[in-house]
């Protein structure tokens, strides 16, 4: 005589529960699960027969079937977690204990700023160039329209080496080297060290990071120059930053301009702000249209090609960005300082 469906369900529950209880480890338990709860397991077999019952009996038996399935599942989960628990919980059951770490490292804040600036200008088609730190006077001065006996050369406080050689006083000689070796269109940045005979104090270093930029092509005008600098400023300092272009003098650009950005500390208000000396503005670069005489010295047709050039101090910009009060901190190599710049958001 065939057993009734409710009876079979009861038996499946009883034997299933004891089988779960008896399973000694996770694989054995898995076998039990497959036998009872699997797609073609014992429970599925019975539940499949419910549809053969008269319609009025089906709901009651169906309910019982679901209750058995639930009971077995719960027992299975409970038994499974009883296996896992001893392995997963460490001998010290305190999840707040610190994890095992690796030493962190990171790039120098000035390098981070240089990288970010290069990334932004890359969007405008600029690549990175390089040149030597020991330069000829010709590349450092003459090619850039700075006569050696001109007062403008005095502004540079040069470290002289042998006759005809200097430690470059700016990264601008890279301009000259690039223009001699590549035809326009030229769009380059030249980050690197420059040297001036400045005493080492809170705001000066005798060797400091500089970054030169140069764009040479047909059709470059002052309007494009301004647009490029504005683009950079808005990307680097934020879209609400304002720029201000002021006349200046550099022998290798004309018209020349200093670029100021609205002070990030006082938001341009200038009210008793020590960062911008209460002017509301911070000077970030010297710039201008490439002087035709520079083109001529380097064999570029100054009537056909025009361009702009700019120079900025990533060390100074890093100090602005991270609010570093003393430039000497950048060169001390103190790990307590250097480790501050490798965290999350800069």
């Amino acid at each position: 005589m065939e057993e009734s469906l409710p009876g079979r369900l009861d038996r499946i529950r009883d034997t299933g529960l004891s089988a779960i209880e008896e399973a000694g480890d996770a694989p054995a338990l898995e076998d039990v699960r497959v036998e009872y709860l699997g797609r073609s397991g014992r429970l599925a077999d019975v539940l499949g027969s419910i549809r053969d019952l008269p319609a009025d009996e089906r709901p009651g038996v169906g309910q019982l079937g679901n209750a058995v399935k639930q009971a077995l599942s719960d027992a299975f989960d409970a038994r499974l977690s009883s296996f896992e628990a001893p392995d997963a919980v460490p001998s010290v059951t305190d999840p707040t204990l610190p994890g095992r770490r690796q030493w962190r490292g990171g790039k120098h804040p000035v390098s981070l700023v240089v990288e970010e600036i290069c990334d932004i200008f890359r969007e405008l088609g600029f690549t990175r160039a390089a040149g030597p730190e020991i330069e000829t006077e010709w590349h450092n001065f003459t090619a850039l329209n700075i006569p050696l006996d001109h007062p403008a050369a005095d502004m540079h406080d040069t470290f002289y080496l042998d006759e005809g050689y200097v430690l470059r006083t700016h990264t601008s000689p890279v301009q000259a080297r690039v223009m001699m070796n590549h035809p326009p269109p030229i769009r380059i940045l030249a980050p690197g060290l420059a040297y001036r005979r400045d005493p080492f104090d809170a705001s000066h270093a005798p060797a400091f990071e500089q970054m030169e930029g140069l764009a040479v092509d047909e059709g470059i005008d002052f309007v494009e120059f301004r647009a490029a600098i504005d683009y950079f400023v808005h990307r680097f300092f934020g879209p609400s930053t304002r720029t201000r272009f002021r006349p200046s003098y550099f022998p290798f650009t004309e018209p020349s301009a200093e670029v100021d950005v609205s002070c990030r500390i006082c938001d341009g208000s200038g009210s008793s702000c020590s960062a911008c000396k209460s002017t509301g503005w911070m000077e970030i670069m010297g710039s201008g249209m490439v002087h035709p005489r520079v083109f001529e010295a380097l064999g570029i047709d100054s009537e056909r090609y025009t361009g702009y050039a700019f120079g900025m101090g990533p060390a100074r910009i890093a100090m602005l960005r991270y609010r570093i009060p003393d430039i000497r901190l950048l060169y001390e190599g103190d790990v307590a300082f250097l480790s501050q710049f490798s965290g999350g958001a800069a």
Binding site: D162, Y165, F222, E332
Partner: protein, 808 residues
Amino acid sequence: MNVSVNWLRALVPGLDSSVSELADEMSLRAVPVESVMDFGADLDDVVIGRVEAVEKHPNADRLTLCRVDDGSGQPLAVVCGAPNVEVGALYPFVRPGGTLPGGFKIESREIRGEASHGMLCSEKELGLGADADGIMKLDGEYAPGVAFGEALGVPDARLELDLTPNRVDLAGHLGVARELAAAHGLETTLPDLGARWEPEWVDGETAAAAAGVLVEIESVERCPRYLAAVVRGIQVGPSPDWLAARLRAVGSRPINNVVDATNYVLLELNQPLHAFDLDRVDGPEIRVRTADGESLTTLDGEVHELGPDSTVIADRTVPIALAGVMGGAGSQVTAETTNLLIECAAFAPAHARVTARQAGLSTDASYRFERGIDESGLETALQRCVELILNVAGGVADPQAVRAGRIPGSKAVVNLRPARVRQLLGLRLDADHLKKLLEPLGFEFPAGQETDAPGRAVLQVGVPGWRRDVTEEVDLLEEVARAYGYDSFPQEPRRVRPSSVPDDPMWLRRDRVAETMATRGLYEARSLSFVPESLTARDPVQLKMPLSSEETCLRTDLLPGLVRRLEHNYSRGRRDVRLFEIGSVFQRVGAEPPFAEQVRVGAVLTGASSPSHWSGAAGDLDLWDLKGLAETVVEGLGLGQLGPGEPGDWPGLGGWLVPESYEIVRDGVIVGRAGQIAPRRVDSPPWAGAVFGLEFELDAVALGEPILYRELPVLPAVPRDLSVVLPETVTALQAEDVIRAAAPETLESLDLFDVFVGEDIEDGQRSLGWRLVFRHPDRTLTDGEVETAMASIRTALEGSFDVRFRGS
């Protein structure tokens, strides 16, 4: 360069903008204003007081008892400590209850037993100057009680201009006034100085004589023009207060009426002048010539041996001034001087520069001559100076004046093409618009210019004498841009073409290295390139004029500098330090160019090998950590091969690493080195760990080497362990070489996993354990094949060394 706003307002009638507006206009149109200083504000409580009587203070040697008339009709008793208090003289005075600038309140009080009702003030106490030696004696005629500020032309504001080398014209108030007048559509004017002198000019190309003076110019290349006037019967004394106030307002110290008059014209018209005591000029003759091995004592008391190319002003016998730099002490104006010879000359910039340099001097005059003065403005400047002297020192001017040298021709003309304006500036401006921008700045457009075909027009622009910096078209373009306003340019995007210049490989290498080092737990340091000679290797590059007597050389290697940075960390008590640096090193070489420069990567590491953890203490970094880093870097950056090598044969690092160190070799050439830093090279505190270093040439970093995919191993690998007892003299590498040579191609990897010395191992021996993994690319290896391979490896080891096999 300091300018007084009151002075500017006197030169530009109608200029009524605020001080801060004027400062902004100068910054945005011409040159930056570095600072704005208001002074003479807060002087409401200061009046003019007359000292009526002075007695000694009965109880103090250095104090006096004064009776001061403050205009109230009730003289006040005032105790004064100044040495220069005089009966009858006028001084700034603050009554009891009044305050000084800065807020100090004056009260009636007793000083050493005597009542004092108010205070006589010094310049410094009023914030007008630096002079604190005595109270500020006033020279004009004022009624006691008059407000001091009003009488002295204060309050005023001082703008400190940061002049660029091209804008020497802004070193005079009139130059600044011209910029501001142009900005406001106003005109400049020269205020009347109260006397008129229109001389008869006596000309000569190289020599001229008039007013009893002979002027001779040896070379008009050095001295293009020399004007001289004579004023007789003057009286030297203090300047009137308005003149002294003008000078004080720009931070210049009043000296006497004659010197102050020349300084006034210098500061107003930008023309240096010099007054000689006519009676101390032999001849009287003025000879502008080169120095002839002579010496000269200048006004500042210094004796100068004159360089051979110096230009001097000499009288009949000896030099009496350094041309365009400084006057001589022997002919200077003194209190006894009654007759003056006033020089107003032009000296060529290059020669003025040489003269100043050879004397080691830089003066207000030499600054201007070196940059070029307005040669067409000499007549006006001399006239104005003579008129001012007549006004403030009396005397009679000779109706004739000497004018030797070249008479300036017509204005320089520079062409300006509107098409070029459009090309370079991006502005479409026609001739009329350009004129409107440039004419207010003094540029002239001669009438009747041809208007060529559109796009090819050329405008001829006359350049004013004071703008010697404007010599070519691009200079005019800058003037146009300035006058148009840099911030008024349209905001129009332009199409850009990407650069024809690829990224310099140096940067690509730097990127890779920095990324690698930073992820290995090192922080990037930047040190200065200057080092003491003791920290350099052979043939360092010496600086000609180092900043300090210690750091005289450029670094030849990075490690010594990094060790200094490490020591700095030690000084702050930091023990776990891992630094890297990418930077240039330098060396002198015999060739042309005489210097070699190379970018290197350096690293120093010391302290714990990993952050401390509660589960167990991490040990200190040791040689194997260093070697591991070196191996990772060498493989990861494709530097070449790493192997043992004694330092010394790679530039610089000899002596910095202990002998048991490693070298990095690329194509048979050493390109780097790694190892423990010799302890004597590091000033380590007792708690510090061993220090390790790594340095290599950046150029050794591989770039652009193509990476090709290899089939993934799908067939099972067969691992075997091999434990061998070997003499200690046999290196792991030697044994591995033998193993690899004896193994079939199916040996996929060979990893040393154990080094053991001790139990079971005889002295002088050690046990090395390797895991060998065999795999065939196409089929499953049989045990027999692997056993055959292991047997031949053992045989090869037995044939090569004195070995014993352990285990299995």
